[in-house]
Symmetry: C2
Subunit: 188 residues, 2 copies
């Protein structure tokens, strides 16, 4: 597997984010990312399948974390409270990474293909949460809609969080979004 | 532009849906669709850009219809009531097409690429509704979350509607989904 490269993955991610931000995602090649990181293309492909993967490699980890937190919420928790437990776990993970999350969001917003990939990531997250709710005994339709409500609040809250000029508490921002969602549907 | 072909578009759509349902989307070619419709590939490409387009050609029309209904809701309507007016317009359009919608949904569910395209369609619809709400003077975050709530209810309601063994009133099913969404967030 080649010689050991100290923190190759972190160096590649940093180099990629710099290039995506400076030149744009489409204008960056894997060779340039590897060169800036002082590594080879071969090393890049040991860590990532392609240049898009650098931006989405954390998605599975995030999803597992959220789904686990939903599953492990107290048995007495309402479905939405279980979802909030999941979103709190996501917020805790992301909280220290505000600056990186801002850069990533800017790269994704600028590129239609990446925006589509992000939508798919969120849809998978919603499906994972809905499955975890069904495992808790929540009926199908309630599981789907509670998961969708959580993802809508997460999506809007996250976008709000990265758009602010300084870091706020992400869990609070997501919770505010959920309150807004509740207020909106109450006006029915 | 070639000779006039009576209802070429409808014949192509019918032929495509039959082939997608019988053989699968990936296993169907444009040449086969044209042949089954008794038309040429050239005629196919006058009406559709590719075989995927047959399934999504109605998306722009649906979006325009929904956004227009949101925009034209009474000035006194709450944001969610304006969204419901938009969803009612969509339901009215789709109501008579239950059987075709079932076939289309089965084709889309079976194919990951088509599922992604469907997600993008719904995200565009959410963005269009949010923009229409902002034009009504609804603040940014409330506009985004009300639009997301509407789309979540539409998505789950629509899936429920096509899954039932006989046609129900789509507007009612969507409204039930929205009630479920409200009930879910009330338990916060």
């Amino acid at each position: 597997m080649g010689r050991w490269e100290p923190d190759a993955r972190g160096r590649l991610e940093k180099a990629a984010m710099e290039l995506y931000t400076q030149r744009g995602f489409d204008q960056t090649t894997v060779a340039e990312i590897a060169e800036r990181a002082g590594l080879t293309k071969r090393t890049f492909f040991r860590h990532y399948t392609d240049k898009r993967d650098v931006l989405f490699a954390g998605a599975n980890y995030l999803q597992d974390l959220v789904v686990k937190a939903v599953a492990e919420a107290p048995a007495a928790a309402t479905p939405i409270a279980a979802v909030v437990a999941g979103l709190d776990a996501a917020a805790e993970l992301l909280q220290e990474r505000w600056s990186g999350a801002r850069d990533r969001q800017a790269v994704i917003t600028a590129n239609p293909e990446l925006r589509e990939r992000e939508l798919i990531k969120l849809a998978n997250l919603a499906a994972g949460i809905a499955a975890a709710l069904r495992d808790r005994g929540v009926p199908d339709r309630a599981a789907n809609l509670t998961a969708e409500a959580g993802i809508a609040a997460f999506k809007c809250g996250f976008e709000d969080w990265v758009a602010r000029p300084e870091p706020h508490d992400l869990a609070t921002v997501i919770r505010e979004s959920l309150d807004e969602l509740r207020a909106a549907t109450e006006a029915l």
